[in-house]
Subunit: 417 residues, 2 copies
């Protein structure tokens, strides 16, 4: 056992650096129709070119561009219409000098043609003569084979979250299934003799297990698979047993619940009794969130355990600031599209920082005459309702005494998936 006195508060950066020892979870194949939001394991290489053939991008006439040179309304060029290209099939013939075929958007160009004259710049006469009133350059109104994606091209890297456009491109390439990381399984345990299930009415002194539900919703929102492990009594053997079981079932264990010193010590003792346990962090330089625990468990293969503070706002902030990057790490997301996770705003009042700790203040955003204001939503961290009234968090850095009214701040938004 590590002597507990040894621990000092660790900074956010120190905690995040410790995550490097944890590896992404395993992989699975999913159908493309279920791939949205999942994370690629390997870079994807195009097995074929897109488009696969020279395609019209406008309704009109497939031509040899050189046959239209100099054409204008005053001096049109005349071509012979030799028929049309059916949709979804190869043209039945090519076009020679002075010849053309009707094409619709998306049709394949006949041999010899290298451009499309748009319908509106033509007139087809009853005798099969086409009057061309505007010249086109080679490649005009067509897509060349491989113009979107060349065969063998890397279309996106490993660790990319698949957005709709990535799914669309995989479909265009005929990739009907894709290898992605499994959704990390996150066991959520509650401990504390005062904590009771949601059902029924708590007796005096009892509270419902709301932190576990909040954490589970965060896990789901961030792409994990929450496994509710229920409430464990404040008892060493029960806690140790429940932790061992969670270690079997999950990739990450969250322990939510009691924040009294006694419960924290009991939790720490139970963690340290598990195979391969290494308590890495016991106390972080965050406000709220100080009584956070990070441990690595299990041999072979390390699994992280995050012990959350008991106060709901503390637990929610620790999950945002430390839980989310850990889940991202396990999920294999190395190319995160993080634009929009924070917005810039002006603080509507002075805020004092916390000595020796990075301070997270809940704020509500408000737009007033084109200025976005961040209104601090104050209240003890034992309350849930200020979180419900907030849009995100403003961080007062370590070593900064406070922030001033009117100051420009970055607001980390809640509710990002």
């Amino acid at each position: 056992m590590t002597p507990l006195e040894f621990f000092r508060l660790q900074t956010r950066q120190e905690v995040l650096a410790l995550y490097e020892r944890f590896l992404p979870v395993g992989t699975e194949q999913v159908e493309l129709a279920a791939a949205q939001g999942r994370v690629t394991v390997a870079a994807i290489t195009a097995p074929e070119a897109v488009p696969g053939f020279l395609r019209a991008t406008m309704d009109g006439y497939a031509v040899r561009a050189q046959d239209t040179f100099g054409a204008s309304v005053g001096a049109p060029q005349y071509l012979e219409v030799k028929g049309e290209v059916p949709m979804g099939a190869a043209p039945e013939r090519g076009v020679g000098p002075g010849e053309t075929l009707r094409v619709a958007t998306g049709a394949m160009l006949p041999n010899g043609a290298d451009a499309v004259v748009m319908l509106e710049y033509t007139a087809e006469h009853p005798d099969g003569t086409l009057e061309v009133r505007r010249a086109v350059a080679p490649g005009e109104n067509v897509l060349a084979p491989g113009e979107d994606v060349a065969r063998g091209e890397v279309i996106f890297p490993a660790g990319r979250r698949l957005r709709p456009q990535e799914v669309g491109l995989l479909a265009a390439l005929g990739l009907t299934a894709v290898t992605v990381y499994r959704k990390p399984r996150v066991a959520i345990l509650s401990s504390g003799d005062e904590i009771v299930p949601l059902e029924g009415r708590p007796r005096p002194g009892q509270v419902r297990d709301s932190n576990a539900y909040l954490a589970a919703a965060q896990v789901a929102e961030w792409g994990g698979l929450p496994l509710m492990q229920g409430i464990v009594p404040d008892d060493f053997a029960a806690l140790r047993g429940a932790l061992a079981q969670a270690l079997e079932a999950a990739d990450l264990i969250l322990v939510s619940g009691g924040s009294s010193v006694g419960v924290r010590d009991l939790t720490l003792n139970a963690i340290q009794d598990l195979p391969g346990a290494d308590v890495l962090v016991h106390g972080v330089a965050l406000r709220p969130g100080k009584p956070t625990i990070l441990a690595s468990l299990g041999t072979p293969g390390l699994k992280p355990l995050l012990g959350l503070p008991g106060h709901p706002a503390s637990a929610a902030v620790v999950m945002e600031v430390l839980g989310r990057p850990l889940l991202t790490r396990l999920a294999g997301l190395t190319d995160p599209a993080s634009w929009g996770r924070s917005v810039s705003a002006r603080l509507s009042r002075n805020l004092a920082g916390a000595t020796g700790r990075e301070d997270y203040v809940r704020v509500r955003l408000r737009r007033d005459d084109h200025i976005v204001w961040a209104d601090p939503v104050l209240g003890p961290s034992g309350l849930l309702s200020p979180l419900v009234k907030s849009d995100g968090l403003v961080m007062i850095p370590l070593g900064v005494e406070g922030l001033f009214k009117g100051e420009e701040v970055m607001v980390q938004l809640f509710g990002w998936s």
Copy 2:
């Protein structure tokens, strides 16, 4: 049939105003564990107070605050320790003048006590005397009943998307299930004789059904339930039959596919032949996205149909600009947390607008020395790869000739759920 010549291009605002005729879909009850991301149908009223009792928020001693007045390190006050409050149960006794009970964080305060002195400002002597070295005010280090939420209080409105903190608060109130809007069912049909399923290798002239997969992923990302209806040949009876079937199954119909004039006219004719059909929009003042159709179908109860352009980038932009607000409307989301859906950036080059149309340009974001730059990703709208390389869209308003290099623009981000 409405004469087709009648239609003129409609602006985005005109199209959005037409959505008011469509009502949110039906409702369902979901377990709280599955409620994350769902939308409330009614305002939620607290059936009880949170907390339900006077709670300690610190480890220490429950006291009558007046007994500590004037206490300091130099002049401590002395109280008699009468035992401790067990966790999860009512205290076995109250505290009278000069008395105190040990409490852990989260414990219920005994009758008579109105504050908690933190452990670190006390010393308990072997004879059961507590030395109090700091005075507390009434209400210090405790949460009063109803301080988080009062009984009967409206905790959030109808039409709110449930974030983790809302789920946590519902859990604290013992609300194990919640009534939410169903996920809108969105039928996705593809038409076009050149379009083939993903499996196998397209023959010359054929392309895979990628737009339907892109649209389905957008629907899923935005909280809808995509129903893939497959590919329909360019044939009036087949298209009409498939549309009628989609109308039965879904709350919204998306028709994706052919963008040639012939296919568009066929689609329009098939739509107009359906019961209660009213083509509201045939052509929008957007670039890309002009050949968009909006229709209302069905009696009783109107259902919307959105006909998407055939070019992938056009379809994706129309879905972002017109499809998403329509889905939001059907989903009942009237209180959307839209912060962060767009970010401010500086344009890295001049952009010319489209005469008479609102112009949407794909951009990639790049941070350079604390400035966020929006780099336009150009390319014809027939390509998918520029979408994959982009983070969002910059809009050039109707009537604006263009935007200048260095100008501050708002970028509407892709990938927001």
